[in-house]
Structures are given as structure tokens and as C-alpha cells.
């Protein structure tokens, strides 16, 4: 399958009073057509910022300082952030769903007004056509009685329902890529599963690709074909879902897997937490950022700089001195 989106050495920094925060420090990844990938990492590791950078939605004091984002043969970062080219990509070609369904819809506009806006803006539909299409979309994402609910306001919907509306909105213009930024963090577990299934089905139907950004390995295990593990602004391990779950190599990935329970393991295994806290992204040492928490460190780790991603086999890459 050809590559749809290619991110090369993307760097995003925030200039704060305390110093420069390297939120995204040279990450590279790609997504193929009709592929589902997962981007996994703990809070503050730069996974959301990396996705916002792809959309050029970084505001001062943040700044994209380097790299390229190749989409349909063009480097998106070459476009002016709020110019017409970038706006015609956002929503129409690459759409995004955010974490908080409760606050992601404008409270003073009806669902109809918010859904038809996109259709009119990007597809140039007439008002009546857009309304019909919006009703159809709401039906597709499983809102019962869509024809009468469409004139309701966001507060008349539950959190799960609102996230369904967000999915409908994001997919309304048939984007090539849907970026779901922790789409299920704010809803309860049963709704999570429904929403993920829905997203997967909708993306498959429109033969789009899906990037799931999450801190929950369980979420990506079921849906993603490939997984990128992020730590402190970098990708530390990448591979197919089988690689990551069956043959994890980076101590961080291993740690992550050891702290979640599994159904296929023997009874009585203790969950092992990863000791310590993620590093402060200001004034990072040149050495591996995971070093202070690593259970598998060697002499080399504290002397040499953080290694780049090394190819293992197949699609499996890892950024570590020791595990190979």
C-alpha cells in the first residue's frame, strides 16, 4: 500500500519562561492508505502536540521548528498556518476528533448548524442538501431519530452521543485521514468500545486511514495494525501490533506491558509499575530520556547520546542501546 502521510523528523518546541520545552523532538512516522495506526505514550510525551503539528494547529508560545509532513505529495508545513491551502486540508482531507466530547461542540449552535457548516464550507453543498446529508450522517453514527434530534443543542446529548456527533462531523467530508486524539478517554468503558467499533467501521466504509492517539495500549491492541510508542517527545519503538505485544524490545514498552493485566497469563502474576516519573522536557540531558527509569541500563547508556531508531526486522524499529 502506498504511503498516505509521511512525517519526517518533526520538531515542535514551546518557548516558556523556564526554558525551551522540546515537546516533539524529531519524530518520523508514516501511515498507509486504509491503515489504522496507534500512537501510544503517557501524558505529556508529545503525542497530541505531534498530531496538532501535522495540522499546523500550534499556537504561540509553541512553534514547529523543523521537519516535514508529506501528504499527497506536498509538504503541509510549507503552507501558511492559517492560509487557504491549509484550511482546505483541515477537515476536508485530514480530520481530527478531540478528547473531550462535552466541550468539543459549540454550546450555542444546534447540531444541524455545526454539521452543515463543514459540508457547505468544504463541499459547497446547498443548505437543504447539507441538512439531508447531516441527518444521514447522524443516522450512520447511531443517533436514533436523527431527523428530530438534528435541531437539538449539544447540551441535550450525553457525552457518548456528543462524541458520535463529533465522529459524524469529522467524517462528513470524507477525509483521507482521521486523527482521533484520545477519543475515548472521557467516556465510560462500554461507550468506549462502541465508539471505537463505530470509528473503525466508518473509516473502513470510506476507505480512510485512522490514527488513534491514546495512552491505553488495550485500545490500540484490538484496532491498530501498527503501533508507535512515544516517550519524552520521541518515538522509542515502532512495529506491527504483533511485534509490540508479542516481542517488545524497548524497556519502556516492556514496562508498559508489564503494568497491565492480561487474560492469557498465568494466575498470580504481580503487575509491575514503571518506577519514577517522566522527565521534565526542559533542559533534557543528551542521553536517553528513559535512562533514570530504565531497568535494563548499561554503561553505554549514560555515556552516549539517545540513539536514533534502529531497524530490527520487518517493520520493527527500536531506539535503545541494549535491546536488540
Amino acid at each position: 500500500m502506498p504511503e498516505l502521510l509521511m512525517v519526517n523528523n518533526l520538531k515542535t518546541q514551546f518557548n516558556t519562561e523556564g526554558g525551551v520545552v522540546k515537546a516533539v523532538d524529531g519524530i518520523s512516522y508514516h501511515i498507509d492508505e486504509q491503515e489504522i495506526i496507534g500512537l501510544v505514550g503517557e501524558s505529556g510525551c508529545g503525542k497530541s502536540v505531534s498530531q496538532l503539528s501535522v495540522m499546523q494547529l500550534i499556537f504561540p508560545p509553541g512553534k514547529i521548528v523543523g521537519g516535514e509532513v508529506i501528504f499527497e505529495g506536498r509538504d503541509l508545513l510549507k503552507f501558511e498556518a492559517h492560509g487557504p491551502e491549509m484550511r482546505s486540508v483541515r477537515g476536508a482531507k485530514i480530520a481530527m476528533i478531540f478528547q473531550e466530547p462535552m466541550t468539543s461542540l459549540n454550546p450555542v449552535l444546534t447540531i444541524n448548524q455545526q454539521l452543515t457548516e463543514m459540508l457547505e464550507l468544504h463541499l459547497g453543498m446547498s443548505r437543504q442538501d447539507a441538512r439531508e446529508r447531516a441527518i444521514e450522517l447522524l443516522g450512520m453514527v447511531g443517533i436514533p431519530d436523527a431527523r428530530s434530534r438534528i435541531d437539538d443543542y449539544p447540551h441535550q446529548f450525553s457525552g457518548g452521543m456528543r462524541q458520535r456527533v463529533m465522529i459524524a462531523m469529522a467524517l462528513s467530508c470524507n477525509p483521507r485521514i482521521l486523527i482521533a486524539d484520545e477519543p475515548t478517554t472521557a467516556v465510560d468503558v462500554t461507550t468506549q468500545a462502541e465508539l471505537l467499533e463505530l470509528m473503525k467501521d466508518m473509516v473502513e466504509q470510506s476507505s480512510a486511514s485512522l490514527i488513534i492517539v491514546t495512552h491505553n495500549l488495550g485500545v490500540v491492541a484490538r484496532y491498530a495494525q501498527r503501533i508507535y510508542i512515544m516517550y519524552a517527545g520521541r518515538i522509542v519503538e515502532a512495529g506491527t501490533t504483533e511485534d509490540i505485544f508479542g516481542d517488545p524490545r524497548h524497556p519502556y514498552t516492556i514496562g508498559l506491558l508489564q503494568c497491565i493485566p492480561r487474560l492469557d497469563e498465568e494466575k498470580g502474576r504481580k503487575l509491575v509499575p514503571i518506577e519514577g516519573l517522566p522527565p521534565n522536557l526542559i533542559n533534557m540531558p543528551p542521553t536517553c530520556a528513559f535512562l533514570p527509569r530504565c531497568s535494563d541500563k548499561s554503561e553505554r547508556c549514560s555515556q552516549e547520546p539517545w540513539p536514533p531508531l534502529k531497524h530490527l526486522q520487518g517493520q520493527h524499529y527500536i531506539a535503545c542501546h541494549n535491546s536488540y
Partner: protein, 309 residues
């Protein structure tokens, strides 16, 4: 930073108008029902509405309603007590207080609405732009607003009147300039907090332009507090116009203004209290009515209060 105004303003405005039309045509009857129900459920709101309608009616039909000429008095009837001929008495020049009160309604409406209209439109636009773009735009706009705010309203009005001369037009200009910073500040603060909402970022991610975000998404969310400010401001503008008239740079002498009447009458408070009390009461009622209607509008227009009211 300049790009948002690349000629799509007309598109957005026609879009908004269309939206209102479709909103009224399609299944939005319930919204109108709710508006009427919430707006009219409180007796004080109805009371305010009646007063304002009366005011408008009086202003329009002043010629027919006034029993006497408001500008030319009969000196023989100077300072007459209320009687069958002069229901509220006369002033020192023998002019009928009731007639002057009736014609004064025009001044109130003209100064109030035109000033608030100008100040609100200019102030809201400036505050929205400053808050949304931040940076150097924000510094230029908000610091000049702060500079304007530094002058007391009357001093600023005096300055403008000194340059332009007295008269009702210049009162309107002076008061507009003096009250614009209030709207700009309010809108600036609201914009700063509203633009941090997830839905603004979500709209950006859907491809919304700066202008669309400002007009379609931020502005409607900021309206309820601004409506309240407008109605409060209407009250204080009536008072400010009265103050200006008193120091001689407001409505020119034969013209009738309630504020000027209060000040003119206070010298005869012991003998002819109605000279001050009648226009004073009128000001009080109108200011109160504006506040009540403003409150009612806010509650009826804000969809976030749906279900609560």
C-alpha cells in the same frame, strides 16, 4: 494576520442571514416558543417592555400627544403649579413640563440607541480582533482603549465638544468614544476565555477560518454578557447626556432633554418639586425598564439556560 479579512465578510453575513431564515423555516418553532415563554414569564420583564413601548410610542407621536409647544412658553404662566391647563406645571420660562417630557423621549431614544449602537459595534469588533489575534494587534488596540479609558467620560466629552462644538450629534460622538473602551474590554476578556474552549480548536481542525471562528463561534457565545452591558449602558448614557446638557455642551437650550430638565428644576425644588421629580422619575423608570428587558433577553436568548428556565 491580515488574511481573515480577505473579502469573505459578505459571504459570512449572507450565510448568517440564510441561517436565520432556514432556522425560522424548518423545525425551529420550538425555539421561538421557548423565547416567548421565558421572555414573557416574568412580570417585571413585561412591565419593562410596556414602559419601553410607551417610550417609543411617545417619541414617535410627540407632536400629537403634547398639549403645548415644548419650546415656547408663556411667560405669564412662569412656574405655574400643576393645574388642568398644565398637568405637571411649567418652568421658569412658562413652558409646559409635560410637553417637554414628551419631546424629551426623542432625545433619550436618539442619544441612547445611536450611542450604544456605535459604541457596541466598534467596541465589540475591536475587542474580538484584539482577543483573537493577540500579539501586536492586541497591544495596539487594547493600549489605545486603555488610554481612552484613562479620561473620565465627561472630560473626554468636553474635549470632543470643544473641538466639534455642542449639539446632539456631538453629544452622540462624544459619548460613543467615551463608552467604546468598555465594550472592547468586556469583549476582549470574553474572547480570551472563549477561544480557549475545545470547540474553537475543534472548529479550526475542521478548517474554519479566523473570521468564521470569530463571527460564528466566539461572538454568539459572548453575546449574553454584552447584552446585559448594553442595557445597563443605556441607563447610564441617559444620565451622562443629562450631565452634558447641564454643563452646556449637550442638547442646545430650547431642545428638551430629561437630564437638563432635572438640573434646570432643582433651583425650584421647594416651590415646584415636580419640575425635577417628573423628569427624574421618567429617567428612573426608563433605566429600570432597560435593565429588566435586558435581563429577560439574556435569559431567553441563552441556549445554555434551556431547561432551567
Amino acid at each position: 494576520m491580515v488574511s481573515p479579512f480577505c473579502g469573505c465578510g459578505a459571504v459570512i453575513i449572507s450565510h448568517l442571514i440564510d441561517r436565520v431564515k432556514v432556522g425560522l423555516e424548518t423545525a425551529r418553532v420550538s425555539a421561538w416558543h421557548r423565547f416567548r415563554r421565558v421572555f414573557l414569564q416574568r412580570k417585571l420583564v413585561i412591565f419593562g417592555l410596556v414602559i419601553l413601548l410607551l417610550l417609543v410610542f411617545t417619541a414617535i407621536f410627540a407632536e400629537w400627544l403634547a398639549p403645548h409647544d415644548p419650546y415656547r412658553g408663556n411667560l405669564a404662566d412662569s412656574l405655574a403649579q400643576p393645574s388642568r391647563q398644565y398637568l405637571l406645571g411649567t418652568d421658569i420660562q412658562g413652558r409646559d413640563t409635560l410637553s417637554r417630557l414628551i419631546f424629551g423621549a426623542r432625545t433619550v431614544l436618539l442619544v441612547g440607541f445611536v450611542t450604544v449602537g456605535i459604541a457596541a459595534v466598534v467596541g465589540i469588533t475591536l475587542g474580538l480582533v484584539a482577543g483573537h489575534f493577540g500579539g501586536i494587534t492586541n497591544i495596539i488596540i487594547m493600549r489605545s482603549m486603555d488610554a481612552l479609558m484613562g479620561f473620565p467620560m465627561l472630560l473626554l466629552a468636553l474635549l470632543i465638544a470643544a473641538v466639534l462644538g455642542g449639539g446632539i450629534h456631538n453629544v452622540i460622538i462624544a459619548l460613543s468614544v467615551a463608552t467604546t473602551p468598555g465594550y472592547a474590554r468586556t469583549m476582549y476578556g470574553l474572547t480570551l476565555s472563549i477561544k480557549e474552549n475545545d470547540y474553537i480548536m475543534a472548529q479550526r481542525a475542521m478548517g474554519a477560518s479566523n473570521l468564521r471562528n470569530m463571527v460564528v463561534h466566539i461572538l454568539p457565545n459572548a453575546l449574553p454578557p454584552v447584552i446585559v452591558l448594553v442595557t445597563l449602558q443605556l441607563g447610564s448614557l441617559i444620565l451622562a447626556e443629562a450631565g452634558l446638557s447641564f454643563i452646556g455642551i449637550g442638547i442646545k437650550p430650547p431642545g428638551a432633554a430629561w437630564g437638563a430638565m432635572v438640573f434646570d428644576g432643582y433651583r425650584y425644588l421647594r416651590t415646584n418639586p415636580l419640575l425635577s421629580f417628573a423628569p427624574g422619575l421618567a429617567i428612573m423608570l426608563v433605566v429600570f425598564a432597560f435593565n429588566m428587558v435586558g435581563d429577560g433577553l439574556r435569559d431567553a436568548l441563552d441556549p445554555r439556560l434551556r431547561g432551567l428556565l
